[in-house]
């Protein structure tokens, strides 16, 4: 989400809308993304897949414009030389081996047979499928198929990688290896857009997020920064300590704290509208209380609660 160079951003969406008859897919969305891993979040029907399909020129925006590297992909397919796409449930050529499939698609980028085979072997190895690359895709598990799709998206070494629900239906091992691939690609300096409904996993991949709901952009930016911006929504801090009542007395005198609760024995829940201010006074109060603190948690500072809160606000 930075625009440091003169080159147009990898993704630039300007007031784009997409309607399927009476149903709204994307509603007046404006967005610019360039560099790093960005998570696209939202409940089912939020418009994540529609957004990706618009970017990939599979559907045409009803209104507004989409630009990939400064070019409209619906009318000019040249940006796809620099884009790799993993769709949610793209049909594969079941009769082909993984190597044949990926090299066939590599040749659609204009690679020679030798280049395509060599490069396909490498990306299949990279996603951990080197030992089964000569097996037919029809015999692959869901997780292996997802990894094949990632391999074919990487085969031409794209600058922008779009992954629509890449972890969907995968077993834990496949999830771990796919997340590892995404992180590795992010470290290579590529722009990666990844959508998922498994919020914890997005959290493990990136803190840069775009939140969609009902086709509208709900929030964009750093997960924690977004959370901090929501001052009117109370944050909770859970403290496990020896004497919650004496600690509560100290906290309640402080400005950012507007309420306390004792949910369980040995547990203090403080309510604040300013999480960072609360955290800045927290160490001094803990020292002042002179008691042992076993843990401090921010139950609202995770993706799920943020999403729930934003969706409620958006309704």
């Amino acid at each position: 989400m930075t625009m440091e160079s003169q080159e147009p951003p990898a993704v630039l969406i300007d007031q784009a809308s997409k309607w399927y008859g009476q149903v709204i897919g994307i509603n007046d969305l404006s967005l610019a993304i360039d560099g790093g891993v960005t998570g696209v979040l939202g409940p089912n029907g939020a418009g994540k897949s529609t957004l990706f399909k618009l970017m990939m020129g599979r559907i045409k925006p009803s209104q507004g414009s989409i630009r990939l590297f400064g070019v409209d992909p619906w009318t000019n397919t040249s940006p796809y030389r620099r884009v790799g796409y993993v769709s949610e449930s793209e049909k594969l050529y079941e009769w082909m081996t993984a190597l044949d499939f990926v090299s066939t698609l590599a040749r659609l980028h204009g690679m020679t047979r030798e280049e395509a085979t060599e490069r396909s072997s490498h990306v299949l190895d990279f996603v951990g499928l080197s030992d089964v690359m000569h097996k037919e895709l029809g015999k692959f598990s869901k997780g292996m198929r997802q990894r094949v799709k990632i391999a074919h998206a990487l085969v031409h070494d794209p600058d922008l990688i779009i992954l629509d629900e890449p972890l969907h239906g995968c077993d834990p091992l496949a999830r771990t290896s796919i997340m590892s691939v995404i992180r590795e690609m992010g470290e290579q300096g590529k722009t990666i857009l990844v959508s998922s409904h498994i919020l914890e996993e997005i959290e493990r991949i990136t803190e840069q997020i775009v939140i969609l709901h009902n086709g509208r952009l709900l929030a964009i930016g750093n997960l924690h920064a977004i959370r901090d911006l929501l001052d009117k929504h109370p944050h909770r801090i859970l403290i496990n300590c020896e004497d919650p009542r004496s600690l509560a007395g100290l906290f309640i005198e402080e400005d950012p704290i507007f309420g306390v609760r004792f949910p369980r024995e040995g547990q203090l829940e403080i309510h604040t509208n300013n999480l960072s201010a609360a955290h800045s006074v927290l160490p001094s109060i803990v020292v002042k209380s002179n008691q042992k603190i076993s843990s401090i948690e921010n139950p609202d500072d995770n993706l799920e609660s943020l999403l729930n809160y934003l969706i409620k606000e958006g309704q």
Binding site: S78, E90, K91, T104, H156
Partner: protein, 322 residues
């Protein structure tokens, strides 16, 4: 209690069986991504990749488009059937049938060359329309049905190139059977009869006329077939639609001719327009009363309409199915 807790005599000797197979710990692989520093190929290389995927698939599904074994078998049968005059020519030459039955039926002349491409039975009743229907049926409709067109549209391939390569692939497969068999028929006649340059000079213009008629037939059938495939999500309906157009227009035109004694309605039948134009190109008397220019314009109109439909469908195609 003793029994319940197992804490008594013999407990020291108690054994337990533990499954020996170890739980899989998963696969550990070296996850080192190596950027690619090669140059991505030009437009023709990308287009050629689409073309070879479709054409090579007729011969092998390994790494190419998969055609159903029955489709491959039918293509082979039609191809072999289209070559049947060749053994007859060989037989004619073998038994020295100069000017006899074999020569008349299968020898090189205007009528036989026309018949090799445009004869109604069996070629344009059974072979060419069926060949077109099975080849063209799923060419675009399969992609629409399964969403595999997205494989192409997510890559630097324009929809026009995608359409053009599909078109070329179908035309090459049909051309291989229809035009190549025609070419093989003509050349084998020269070889078997040991004809010289004078014969070649005499018959070449007729041969070229027939070849041109064959190419127009391939183009027309490809255009109509692909247009139907592009508006359908099912290979069955694209194939049946094509056969219906070819046979339906022929039948209606025939009925109109029988009822009203006019051949004008044949201008709506793709086969008859091609046959009429072919008769003109090979210089044989026409079976139709209306001028050949009407058939030529009709073929042009049919091709234009079909190609327009095909291109407009594919260029506006939204891949919503996944």
């Amino acid at each position: 209690m003793e029994a319940a807790f197992g804490s008594g005599d013999g407990d020291d000797e108690a054994t337990a069986v533990v499954a020996r197979s170890q739980a899989s710990l998963g696969q550990i692989f070296e996850q080192k991504y190596r950027p690619w520093d090669g140059e991505l190929g030009p437009r023709w290389m990308r287009n050629y990749a689409i073309f070879r995927h479709h054409v090579y698939g007729v011969f092998t599904g390994k790494g190419h488009r998969q055609y159903h074994p029955m489709v491959r078998l039918l293509i082979l049968i039609i191809f072999l059937a289209s070559l049947t005059p060749i053994p007859m020519l060989f037989l004619s030459s073998f038994i020295g049938d100069q000017g006899g039955f074999f020569e008349k039926m299968w020898g090189i002349n205007r009528y036989n060359l026309w018949g090799q491409v445009l004869g109604y039975f069996p070629r344009n009743l059974c072979m060419w329309p069926l060949l077109t229907a099975i080849v063209v049926g799923g060419m675009i409709s399969d992609d629409r049905q399964h969403g595999t067109s997205a494989i192409y549209f997510s890559r630097p391939i324009s929809r026009l190139d995608y359409t053009a390569m599909k078109y070329l692939s179908v035309a090459v497969i049909l051309g291989f059977v229809i035009v190549f068999s025609y070419f093989a028929y003509y050349t084998s006649a020269i070889v078997f009869k040991s004809e010289g340059w004078a014969y070649l000079a005499d018959t070449l213009p007729i041969f070229l006329g027939g070849m041109l008629a064959g190419i127009i037939l391939v183009i027309t059938y490809t255009s109509i077939g692909l247009a139907l495939s592009s508006i359908s999500r099912s290979r069955f309906f694209a194939a049946i639609g094509f056969l219906s157009i070819i046979y339906g227009t022929k039948l209606v035109s025939l009925l109109v001719e029988l009822q009203f004694e006019t051949t004008f309605m044949y201008a709506l039948s793709p086969y008859d327009c091609l046959a009429h134009l072919g008769q003109f190109l090979l210089g044989i008397p026409s079976n139709y009363e209306h001028p050949v220019s009407i058939s030529a314009v009709s073929i042009l109109a049919m091709n234009s309409l079909a190609v327009w439909l095909l291109v407009s469908r594919v260029t506006s195609l939204e891949v919503t199915r996944e």
